[in-house]
């Protein structure tokens, strides 16, 4: 298993170089000159533009710019944003916020999703099952910004139960509403996943055996049915955690969450190469790590899975 992990980590190296190169190239290839855009509707003095281009190495050929950037990363220097803040500092400030939001969202979708899915699965075809199916269908088909706007307007503006946007320091209380919005779509997925898995497991031989041995339903449902139904759900949750970590641009924008997605979006608007590339690179690496953990989780949940060296 150690060898397996090592090999997976080694695979991350070409992925790291590939993504930074590609993203850097895409930012570089974005049409227009970000320096000229800094001046708005005014036409800048060409000598001044040349000075600024030199300051941000924009006058160098693409490949030189790329190596200047990569060289910086190996010295722990992610570059400097146009507002004079080291990109490393921005990363350190925004990732914890997004992490907090992701954990809260994950908590909600796990708890509610599994409970509702379990009840639906056990009462297949009954009223509860039918209505949870309808609700999850609605949630899946709604674009997330609609849920976010409605949530913000109803709970933030009309009822005043939650703050309309997230305040400084991103306290947990402020993050609950955006986390619920983020959780809503995955919640629907988890309900359906848990439900079908529970139905399948319920009809398996070992469940029938447990019943015939005279075990109580209170023991069979959590220990025999639920535990064995969770493998696909856990896989989904882990992947979803990766997705949440790399930022929810739309939701973070609507609730003004000072997290990864929001910051990245602003950097793209300003064509801030170093910020965009550093953020995306860290996202890719995070995603790789989360994927590795998911693969390892399979083995823990199902001993039949083995990793070849």
């Amino acid at each position: 298993m150690g060898g397996y992990i090592l090999r997976r980590l080694l695979q991350a190296i070409p992925v790291f170089f590939g993504t930074t190169f590609l993203i850097y190239f895409m930012v570089f290839a974005m049409p227009g000159d970000p320096i000229i855009a800094m001046f708005g509707d005014k036409t800048p003095n060409p000598a001044l533009v040349a000075q600024l281009r030199a300051q941000y190495h924009l006058d160098q050929p693409f490949i030189v710019q790329y190596f200047i950037y990569i060289g910086g990363i190996f010295r722990g220097d992610f570059g400097i944003s146009y507002s004079g803040v080291p990109v490393g500092d921005i990363l350190l400030r925004t990732f914890p916020v997004t992490l907090k939001l992701a954990v809260i969202a994950l908590f909600f979708e796990t708890v509610f999703g599994i409970v509702v899915g379990l009840i639906s699965g056990l009462r297949k075809g009954k009223l509860f099952d039918a209505s949870s199916l309808v609700i999850s269908l609605i949630l899946i088909s709604l674009p997330i910004f609609v849920i976010a706007f409605v949530g913000q307007y109803v709970f933030g503006v009309q009822l005043g139960w939650a703050r309309t946007t997230v305040g400084p320091g991103a306290p947990v209380a402020d993050l609950i509403l955006p986390a619920l919005v983020l959780a809503s779509i995955s919640f629907a997925q988890i309900v359906r996943l848990t439900r079908s898995s529970v139905i399948e497991t319920s009809s398996l031989d070992f469940v029938r055996t447990a019943y015939s041995k005279g075990l109580s339903r209170n023991r069979i449902v959590p220990v025999h049915i639920l535990r064995n139904s969770l493998i696909p759900v856990v896989t989904y949750l882990a992947t979803d955690f990766g997705v949440l970590l790399v930022g929810a641009t739309v939701t973070e924008g609507i609730f003004n969450v000072p997290g990864v997605g929001n910051t990245l979006y602003q950097a793209i608007i300003r064509s801030e190469g170093p910020t965009v590339v550093s953020f995306v690179t860290v996202m890719v690496l995070l995603y790789l790590v989360v994927n590795l953990i998911v693969d390892l989780l399979y083995g823990l949940l199902d001993p039949r899975i083995r990793y070849v060296k």
């Binding site: 049409p31 227009g32 000229i36 800094m38 708005g40 924008g253 979006y265 602003q266």
Partner: protein, 539 residues
């Protein structure tokens, strides 16, 4: 939603020309706290993460501008109507409109206690003007003797006489130069700034009505906390316990915060809410003209748009646009149809220029003029207006194109360019081969700021490459006048020529659209659409 977010980004960029001076109320009357006002209550306002370190000579977008204007005091500030009032200056005098003697008020200090002297200004200006310092506001020092746009060159026109007196010699007479001095490029800097300018810009020490609450008051991408600066003695007396500017990437979030009582002052309404905000906010909604002029420019290099034929076609196009209907339908009345090339909030503006008939919707005359031009050289092809597709421009460009199409019976359409950067790059390097949208937000409240950079032959933002010796002569004459009225008369004469030549087709003036919460009062917006934060009281 997506559209909104993009809109915001671009509004910030498009407003980049905006240096936002702190406006000010003209004094005691409007800033007297009401009995229920709480002098320790902190006002919250919307803003955006500054795009550069907070160095006055390097700040020319609204996000940073509104902070810089609050924490610095220049020689003058502008009251709500745009009138300059001495701030750090005691007097600014001249006899020939070319050499100005500036006397500072005695015993002024920066918020760290160091004195504000002539050198604080002169060194800051020298720093800003030096090309290799690459300051975004470098071109503002152009009138001063010694300035060079292409090489490092000290401003030889600046002479320190003593601690509170210095003189400024311009390379040519310019009577309204003192009017520019409230712009942030001309703010002073403490000596401690020069050691590490970038570090200074993240925790700036200023001499204005507010100061940063702590060295870490600027929480990047979140907000900045300002508290009243007790050592400030100028006219912008703070009537509240502080100012917190929250940064929003999405104006929709700011508007939700205003409605949810999480925000006191909002200076821009997201376009999705323009139709409803006056109903939502009632008397707390603000919708009034400001110093933003919008137009589209037809470069003289475009076929059919030069000489006599060009003049006829430009007038025909202008008269075929139904500005009244478009501002009502597309903008819900948040734009005011233009009647000149400047703005109604500027001293010297008039809606009765004799040439202004070319800005009235007149389909019959438009058809006649177009036919006359066709007699010179027949028209073929499509008339196109270029714009950046990442801003909220498509709706009005399409409406203007349709108005032209329906009136003149020619093909007309918008020509979107994907991003603002790509759009401005093609305008700046003159590679754009259609007409294109242009906007101008004034940096200082004078007619000259709307006209000279845009329409003089050597104008820095003369993107249409317009040149008319008669106009140039009037501009030169105006800047040498000693009375403002005489200068404004010259600018109006020049505008009458411009209304005939139409290097750009004036469309409308932007309004400030904003609002404020139930717990604040004395909210007013300055000439430059910036709220006068210091005058706001909160119960």
């Amino acid at each position: 939603m997506k559209k909104n977010r993009i809109g915001v980004g671009v509004v910030a960029l498009a407003a980049a020309s905006a240096l936002v001076l702190t406006g000010c109320s003209s004094g005691g009357s409007s800033s007297t706290p009401t009995s229920s006002a709480n002098l320790s209550a902190v006002i919250t306002a919307n803003g955006s993460e500054p795009q550069n370190p907070l160095i006055p000579t390097n700040t020319q977008e609204t996000g940073g501008g509104r902070i810089v204007d609050s924490i610095f005091a220049g020689l003058v500030y502008y009251d709500a109507t745009g009138k300059p009032i001495n701030d750090a200056a005691d007097s600014i005098t001249t006899t020939d409109s070319q050499t100005f003697t500036i006397k500072l008020k005695a015993n002024q200090t920066f918020s760290d206690g160091t004195p504000v002297t002539s050198n604080s200004f002169v060194k800051a200006w020298q720093y800003g003007a030096l090309l290799s310092n690459a300051q975004l506001n470098q071109s503002f020092f152009a009138p001063i003797e010694g300035y060079s746009a292409t090489a490092d060159s000290p401003l030889t026109g600046l002479t320190v006489v003593d601690d509170t007196t210095f003189t400024v010699k311009l390379s040519a007479p310019q009577a309204d130069f003192p009017l520019e001095l409230g712009y942030d490029a001309f703010y002073p800097l403490p000596d401690s700034a020069y050691a590490n300018m970038t570090a200074y810009g993240t925790d700036p020490i200023g001499n204005g009505p507010y100061k940063l609450a702590s060295p870490t008051a600027w929480q990047h991408n979140v907000q900045i906390d300002l508290v009243p600066n007790t050592s400030y003695t100028g006219g912008r007396k703070v009537q509240n316990g502080g100012l917190t500017i929250k940064f929003y990437a999405d104006l929709g979030a700011a508007y939700a915060d205003l409605q949810g009582n999480n925000l006191d002052v909002l200076d821009s309404i997201p376009s999705a809410d323009l139709a409803t905000f006056q109903n939502d906010l009632g008397s707390r909604a603000v919708n009034e003209p400001t110093a933003v002029f919008q137009s589209f420019t037809i470069p003289g290099r475009d076929a059919h748009f030069s000489g006599q034929e060009g003049q006829l076609r430009r007038q025909a196009l202008s008269e075929s646009i139904d500005r009244d209907t478009i501002t009502k339908v597309i903008f819900n009345g948040t734009r005011t149809p233009a009647s000149d090339f400047t703005s109604p909030v500027i001293n010297g503006w008039t809606d009765s220029l004799s040439g202004a008939s070319s800005l009235k919707y007149n389909p019959d005359d438009a058809k006649k003029l177009w036919a006359e031009a066709d007699a010179i050289s027949p028209w073929s092809g499509t008339f196109q207006i270029g714009y950046n597709a990442d801003g909220d421009h498509q709706a009005w460009v399409d409406a203007v194109s349709n108005s032209i199409k329906n009136t003149l019976g020619i093909d007309a359409s918008g020509a979107p360019v994907p991003t603002f950067a790509a759009f401005r790059t093609s305008v700046t390097d003159k590679s754009i081969n259609t007409a294109f949208r242009t906007g101008w937000q004034a940096d200082y409240p004078g007619l000259s700021d709307f006209l000279v950079p845009l329409y003089s032959t050597s104008g820095s933002s003369n993107d249409g490459q317009y040149s008319n010796p008669a106009v140039d002569a009037l501009f030169t004459k105006a800047s040498a006048e000693t009375s403002t009225d005489a200068a404004n008369q010259d600018y109006q004469d020049a505008q009458n020529i411009l209304l005939k030549d139409l290097p750009a087709i004036p469309l409308w003036y932007s309004n400030i659209t904003g609002g404020y919460g139930t717990s604040v009062s004395n909210v007013s917006f300055g000439w430059n659409s910036e709220p006068l934060y210091y005058a706001i009281t909160k119960s």
